[in-house]
């Protein structure tokens, strides 16, 4: 890879100054960024290491739980407060990557990780995300892992994160900071669809950084489940995944949260299906109907047509597990 400068930041201000210059990238755990550099997808002049900033904390707030951007994926997944209040998040994290990677990966880095689309990774192939205007290699190519929701004519990639699917379901908020101060972005609006700008994964501005995530308290802890369907039992990205969280009263669904991974350019929250389930009774039939609603508008490509069957089956299974029907 190209030679680069390395700077260890000791203040937030220092990071913001560094990233205001073009060619500078933040490095946290480095598990995604360094891969990109090795594959020649990016060649930054300078890396600013943020891992020495005091942003590792997992702390209770008045309304919920705050995760510092540098909290490690492994630490979050084992944290007592997380396990007690948001077990869905712990399950999603543990379904991701491998223990070695989770020991390095951070909350912010996980949110900012880029698609695993193989054409994106191969600089000899066309890819609108890597090099706008070159075409989409996956569209007519090997698109088994690709999107069934929200894709565009430019890009059909999926966001690969498990953690983000849980955070989208849990109504989390992302806290970012830039020169002009802090912004709060609802988690479901942090990542974006490809539209005409597949090179952009999310709404974080170039000169902003993530400092943490807030998760509001809820009543989902007893009835939540993260289901990940993959080609092997560990260490593989999701074919599809489902984060299901239910607030039950007797046999009735008071509130439902449902999000999917492996199906869209962003964690795919299923608002319509959630609304449908609220007030309904906990039955397999309810879940099947919700799954049907969820799949409205889904579109498959040559190699991922199986997701049209696997996605609803996964929704039903996740809801059964969450509700105790299974």
């Amino acid at each position: 890879m190209k030679q680069f400068q390395y700077q260890r930041a000791s203040t937030q201000q220092g990071v913001l100054e560094a990233i205001s210059k073009p060619g500078t990238k933040i490095i946290a755990g480095g598990t995604n960024l360094v891969d990109h550099m090795k594959h020649g997808l990016i060649a930054p002049d300078k890396l600013v290491d943020i891992t020495h900033l005091p942003l590792k904390g997992i702390t209770p707030t008045k309304t919920g739980l705050h995760l510092g951007t540098l909290a490690l994926n492994s630490v979050v997944s084992e944290d007592a407060l997380v396990l007690q209040k948001q077990p869905l998040l712990s399950m999603a994290l543990k379904a991701g990557a491998s223990p070695q990677l989770r020991n390095m990966a951070t909350v912010g880095g996980n949110m900012m990780q880029r698609t695993r689309c193989t054409y994106f990774y191969d600089t000899t192939m066309p890819c609108n995300k890597r090099e706008p205007g070159t075409g989409c290699g996956a569209m007519e190519g090997y698109n088994r892992m690709h999107a069934i929701f929200g894709a565009s004519a430019q890009c059909i990639a999926v966001h690969p994160s498990d953690m983000c699917v849980a955070l989208a379901a849990l109504d989390a908020t992302v806290i970012v900071v830039g020169k002009k101060g802090q912004r709060h972005i609802p988690f479901t609006e942090f990542h974006r669809l490809p539209d005409d700008h597949p090179e952009l994964d999310n709404h974080l501005a170039k000169d902003e950084m993530i400092i943490g995530v807030d998760i509001p308290d809820n009543n989902f802890a007893k009835n939540s489940y993260y289901l990940k369907v993959r080609d092997r039992q560990s260490y593989a990205f999701a074919l599809v995944s489902v984060a299901a969280a239910l607030d039950l009263s007797g046999g009735t669904i008071k509130k439902a949260r449902l999000a999917m991974g492996g199906v869209a350019h962003k964690p795919w929250r299923l608002f319509e299906a959630e609304k449908f389930m609220e007030g309904k009774s906990v039955t397999e039939e309810t879940f099947k109907q919700a799954a049907q609603i969820a799949l409205q508008g889904a579109k498959a490509y040559e190699y991922n047509a199986f997701k049209l069957k696997l996605a609803p089956a996964s929704i039903v299974e996740a809801l059964k597990q969450a509700s105790g029907l299974a």
Partner: protein
């Protein structure tokens, strides 16, 4: 003897060195002034190079040289070589491109990182030609790899069609990439017209010969070192293009040069298992006696070199059947050449054969194990020879009892547990137990140390360990005083470590040389036939520093009168999720006839390794090409899935452990390959038993069952 936890025997003699990192792998030899090479791969599948712009790369700091066909010296061994001379990809000889990912430029720099970066700055232009990399398209245009030997008929061809109960099916297996942990590497050091290399090689003497012929050198001018190998599985025998590049590069610049290939390059530069499309027809009488088997297979090869393997050969011999016809074809594609991959040929063919047996058993409504027993072959019907030993029935009995096969429900899809469908499957593995001539030297010194040497290698099975074990049975000294040295071409000649014959070949040489050593001591002592001479006393009395014997061993001509094979029966339990299509292998019992088991603890590891790769083959492995570019789209360990720990259950290993009277003096039969042969069929058969769905194209991923 049966032992489900066979942990007896000696542990690996190099185990401590390996786990402490003290042992040196191919890429870990330091030399003063060492420089590093990085290979640039072609980005088209077929055509010619029209230009190479290396200016930017050459101007980068630390870059020593950029080598390609434009400036490489003529290699003597490249002149007039044809297919029969082995790998014929003449690296840096001309501008022809035969496959996407072909090494075309070598960039040398004073650090690895600089070489890599400079390599990324090379710009190559091509004249592209239309390519074909799809075996499905290649089906129309095939060749007979072995001429008439590609076809076999016994009795009536296609007789299965006349049988009262018959099945016909087509099976597909994908490319399998060996993906050994250790990437390939070679460090080459020239000294005038002498060259020494450090690399990983399954066939040290073979590689020495290839280098000799490449540069027209006498044997004493070429030294090949391969002390330890981090896995090879068949990929480590030829002198691959990266190695040719290292040899050419080091000679050109006159410095020690190390070339290491990266994971992506492991997909196109060091072979792979050919994909295959196979048609099976099988027929039986209503009570399950086989009437006929027809097995037609097509594999692939490169356009520049031919590779063929015995995909249909097991079908000719596994079952007692009057009518068998098999046919093997290959199609030339614009891909790198395939090579031997654990259980080459058999692994592919037996997946189809043993799946078909299961399909036939289902059609007959018969227990698939009963069907196999009913058609037990008592002799090799292809060669018309008796078996030297065959304890397959013992494997069936032992394995079935241990596994609890009698609990299998014949009706597919009828057993569930905790919401998962449960299925049982069984399959045979068979592999020829060969032996090749081998020389070993033994020296017993006054300090009581026995040193045995042979130029074999150890790609992981524990070669040195079993050799020490064999020697310890003959030379009566403490095991820790026995040393076995391998991994250097100047040691006595050994065959390649492949074909499951190392223990048989090298082990026989060790056995014989130790026996000869005992005789020498007895002679000195004026005795004959003493099993345990008093070595140090005898040396002292004769005032000798040591006694040394060199011995060449080869099988007796009698071996020709028998057909010799190792057998492995896999019993597998799977859980299949009824709506998600995910498959978990939950139990494995492998029952093995490998003759006399010489060192159970390492033998067991072989069986576990075969089962683990078998799980990978059944459920997840497959190289995927985008045929538009003729290029892999999953050439990393993140995308090409091998079994993870979570995918592997407890694997129980049972040995019949009865000596084969013919193969070698130890009575062993090679077990390296047989343990993967058939395994994937056992899984596919179990999936069918669980779900009623027959998956005929591997791997069995959730999308095929959902």
């Amino acid at each position: 003897m049966t032992n489900d936890h066979p942990t007896s025997g000696i542990t690996r003699v190099d185990g401590r060195l390996k786990v402490t990192g003290a042992i040196r792998y191919a890429a870990e030899y330091p030399f003063p002034g060492l420089v590093y090479g990085a290979l640039v791969s072609s980005t088209i599948a077929k055509g010619t190079i029209t230009g190479i712009n290396s200016k930017a790369a050459e101007n980068l700091p630390g870059v020593v040289a950029v080598i390609s066909h434009l400036n490489a010296p003529k290699v003597p061994g490249y002149q007039g070589k044809g297919d029969e001379d082995g790998p014929v990809l003449k690296t840096f000889n001309d501008n022809k491109i035969y496959f996407n990912g072909q090494p075309v430029v070598l960039v040398i720099a004073n650090t690895f990182e600089r070489a890599k970066y400079a390599a990324s700055q090379i710009k190559i232009t091509y004249q592209q030609e239309k390519h074909q990399t799809n075996i499905e398209a290649g089906l129309r245009d095939t060749i007979k790899p072995w001429g008439d030997g590609s076809d076999y008929v016994r009795g009536q061809a296609n007789a299965y069609q006349t049988a009262p109960v018959k099945i016909e099916a087509e099976y597909r297996t994908p490319i399998h990439v060996h993906n050994a942990m250790e990437p390939f590497a070679m460090t080459a050091l020239w000294n005038g017209d002498k060259v020494t290399v450090y690399t990983k090689s399954q066939y040290i003497k073979g590689m020495q010969r290839e280098i000799m012929s490449m540069f027209n050198l006498p044997e004493e001018n070429v030294t090949v070192n391969s002390k330890v190998i981090g896995g090879a599985f068949g990929s480590g025998s030829p002198l691959w293009p990266y190695a040719k590049a290292a040899l050419i590069g080091a000679k050109m610049i006159g410095k020690p040069l190390k070339v290491v290939i990266d994971r992506g390059q492991m997909f196109t530069m060091v072979g792979y298992r050919s994909p295959a499309i196979q048609k099976l027809g099988m027929g039986a009488t209503a009570d399950g006696k086989l009437v006929g088997i027809t097995h037609l297979a097509t594999g692939e090869t490169a356009t520049y070199e031919q590779f063929a393997e015995g995909i249909t050969s097991t079908t000719n011999i596994l079952y007692d059947c009057p009518n068998v016809n098999t046919q093997y074809r290959i199609t030339k594609l614009d891909l790198s050449v395939p090579t031997y991959t654990r259980g080459p040929g058999e692994t592919t063919g037996v997946f189809a054969l043993e799946s078909a047996m299961d399909e036939l058993a289902h059609a007959l409504n018969m227990d698939p194990l009963e069907l196999r027993k009913k058609n037990y072959s008592e002799r090799d019907q292809e060669e018309n020879l008796p078996w030297s030993s065959k304890y397959l029935n013992e494997c069936y009995e032992m394995g079935a009892a241990h596994f609890g096969w009698e609990k299998r429900n014949q009706k597919p899809g009828s057993v569930t547990k905790d919401g998962w469908l449960v299925g049982y499957g069984v399959s045979n593995g068979v592999y020829g137990a060969g032996r090749a001539p081998c020389v070993a030297k033994a020296r017993l010194s006054a300090d009581g140390i026995l040193l045995i040497q042979s130029s074999t290698s150890d790609m992981g099975p524990g070669t040195a360990t079993v050799m020490v074990k064999i020697a310890s049975g003959i030379i009566n000294i403490p095991v820790e005083n026995i040393k076995f040295e391998l991994g250097n071409s100047s040691l006595p000649a050994a065959p390649g470590e492949y074909g499951s014959m190392t223990t048989s070949s090298v082990g026989s040489a060790v056995y014989d040389v130790c026996t000869a050593l005992n005789e020498q001591f007895n002679q000195l002592d004026g005795k004959s036939g003493t099993a345990h001479p008093d070595y140090t006393r005898i040396l002292k009395e004769h005032n000798l520093p040591y006694v040394e014997v060199t011995h060449k061993s080869q099988g007796s001509p009698d071996a020709q009168k028998f057909s010799t094979h190792a057998y492995c029966v896999h019993f597998v339990e799977v859980n299949v999720h009824p709506t998600l299509g995910t498959v978990k292998v939950t139990r494995v019992v492998a029952a093995l006839d490998g003759g006399k088991i010489l060192n159970p603890i390492t033998a067991r590891s072989q069986v576990i390794g075969g089962a683990v790769w078998g799980i990978g083959m059944a459920l997840m492995e497959g190289g995927v090409l985008d045929h538009r570019y003729g290029k892999y789209v999953n050439n990393s360990l993140g995308d090409y899935h091998v079994a993870s720990n979570a995918d592997v259950p407890q694997i129980e290993v049972l040995f019949v452990d009865k000596a084969d009277p013919v193969t070698n003096p130890m009575g062993s039969k090679g077990i390296g390959e047989v343990t993967i042969v058939g395994f994937a069929a056992a899984v596919a058969n179990a999936v069918f038993n669980a779900t009623g769905k027959r998956v005929r194209d591997l791997p069995i991923t959730p999308d095929k069952l959902v």
